[in-house]
């Protein structure tokens, strides 16, 4: 019993880490630019297809593929920001959200047209063989996903606290006017934010696609991640991480104790309960502005 529970928690944590990465993408963009990017899940999907193409069609090695995928995803984020979001940056936030929804439709159906709607397996370096450590039993894949996610999160943390650009990004999120007065190019920061968010989404894609397989509708996972971000308190980076991980674990445990239906809604029941008690999520301090 203990063994089963712990393995549930570990594999839930693995899924949760991926939610957390996607949630981070949402939160970074929101913090910096006040925009909710509903195409975040499509970054995950697209990066899966990019790495599939590089691995299978071009036969590149895994690490090269990872690197190229991250860069290409980042570029895609910048393009989306420039083409879709920047022209209407001053418009009501709703309109921007709908524009990103439109963009996500475009990305999704483009993938469908190019790759078809059949699912594709994405190779990975992590095997699906079991590992046993005392009461813990999990797969190499679980460990790999959790480990990689933690590395990414750590790298982001260092970037935001230790580098000048990271500090400028945080500063811009707090006051665009003051940041401009310090000589920060706010538009440059915006582009960079979208690039980073999309790149994180890209990592999430490379991690999750081998597990759940690739298909144009993969981006739907973004909805769960969004719920995780809200649970943690939208606009809070630790909130996004904790919220995402919590959801992954909660899903698995409720799936184990109840059925698939409860598993699906447990996320939202928890979310509603938390919001009723804490209207701005677990870590959210200030009310969300301008929505």
């Amino acid at each position: 019993m203990v063994e089963i529970l712990t393995s549930q928690v570990v594999s839930g944590l693995a899924t949760g880490c991926v939610y957390a990465l996607i949630a981070l993408g949402f939160v970074l963009i929101f913090k910096a630019t006040d925009v909710v990017n509903f195409a975040q899940g499509e970054f995950v999907m697209a990066s899966g297809f990019i790495s599939y193409t590089l691995l299978i069609r071009f036969g590149l090695s895994y690490w090269v593929v990872l690197l190229v995928t991250i860069v290409v995803s980042g570029v895609m984020g910048v393009i989306l920001e420039r083409v879709v979001v920047r022209p209407i940056m001053d418009a009501p936030i709703f309109s921007i959200v709908i524009a990103t929804i439109g963009a996500s439709t475009v990305l999704r159906s483009s993938a469908g047209i190019v790759y078809g709607y059949d699912v594709l397996p994405l190779p990975t370096i992590f095997s699906k063989d079991p590992i046993r450590m005392g009461v813990l039993s999990f797969t190499v894949m679980d460990a790999g996903v959790i480990g990689s996610s933690l590395v990414i999160m750590m790298a982001l943390y260092l970037f935001f606290t230790r580098t000048k650009t990271g500090m400028a990004m945080r500063a811009t999120a707090q006051s665009q006017t003051a940041a401009r007065l310090m000589g920060v190019s706010v538009k440059g920061i915006f582009s960079l934010t979208w690039a980073i968010s999309a790149a994180i989404g890209g990592v999430a894609g490379v991690l999750i696609a081998p597990i759940i397989y690739l298909d144009p509708n993969l981006g739907v996972i973004g909805v769960k991640a969004f719920a995780g971000a809200i649970l943690g308190g939208f606009g809070s980076i630790p909130g996004a991480i904790v919220g995402g991980m919590l959801l992954g674990i909660l899903e698995n445990l409720s799936g184990y104790f109840f059925n698939a239906g409860i598993k699906q809604v447990s996320t939202y029941i928890l979310l509603i309960v938390v919001l009723v008690v804490r209207p701005s999520g677990l870590f959210g301090a200030v009310a969300v502005k301008r929505v």
Binding site: R170, S175, A179, M182, G183, V184
Partner: protein
């Protein structure tokens, strides 16, 4: 103290010539012209809504004037984005401080030096700021949002100093501060000026402002209605009635 002559001494550091600035369809500035001589303190006086803050924003590039020109060190700077103007040596301490509340005091100061690359020079500036504002050194790890009003104003000025500016634009530095703190802030402005920085000061507290300034301009509904040596202005009837609360 510097020259108190009526005419501007030497070449002007900043020349504002006939700028008109709009917010949407509302015209905030209707043709403002003035000069800020090198190494002087110049103050802009005026009632709320006269266009003082807008003038500063038009200089620092936060808003773009629709007409007219701003010249700094002989270069046109209107139509340039803020981030370039900062690099040229203009630091703007905005009204209400506009600190980064969730960054620490030290990080706020570092952000002030964002455009500079010489690490050693930055360190030197940091030491100077810490020497001038010991409280900022004490609270370096504290979040800026948790400071008191006076400390926040000091941080805002300290942050601007970190850019090692030639010209500092100060917008209502005494707003909302206790009288003792106001004294302190004005002392600091004097010191900054003494160390070679030119200051353009916007103040509601006309008495105090004119007492430290070399030269003053009075703004009324988007135009300059009066200009002159600060001692003259202090004696001017209109100024006394309208801005010094004297009859």
């Amino acid at each position: 103290m510097s020259n108190r002559d009526n005419r501007a001494p030497g070449p002007p550091l900043l020349t504002v010539d006939g700028i008109e600035t709009f917010y949407g369809s509302i015209q905030a500035l209707k043709g403002i012209s003035f000069e800020v001589p090198e190494r002087s303190i110049v103050t802009l006086l005026g009632a709320n809504g006269a266009g003082k803050s807008t003038t500063l924003k038009s200089i620092s590039g936060l808003v773009a004037p629709a007409r007219g020109s701003v010249t700094f060190k002989g270069q046109r700077i209107d139509r340039r984005p803020s981030e370039e103007i900062v690099r040229l040596g203009i630091s703007h301490v905005p009204e209400g401080r506009d600190l980064f509340p969730e960054l620490t005091v030290l990080e706020n100061l570092k952000m002030g030096a964002y455009v500079r690359t010489d690490k050693r020079a930055i360190q030197a500036s940091l030491e100077r700021v810490h020497a001038r504002f010991p409280i900022l050194a004490q609270r370096r790890a504290q979040l800026a949002g948790t400071l008191s009003g006076g400390e926040q104003q000091m941080l805002a000025i300290g942050r601007a100093l970190m850019a090692a500016p030639t010209l500092m634009l100060l917008d209502e530095p005494s707003l909302g501060l206790a009288p003792m703190l106001v004294e302190e802030i004005f002392g600091i402005i004097r010191e900054i000026h003494a160390s070679g920085t030119t200051v353009l000061l916007v103040e509601q507290n006309a008495n105090k402002a004119l007492s430290i300034a070399d030269y003053g301009y009075v703004l009324e509904t988007g135009t300059i209605s009066l200009a002159g040596d600060s001692r003259q202005l202090l004696k001017d009837d209109h100024v006394r009635r309208a801005y010094l609360g004297q009859r």
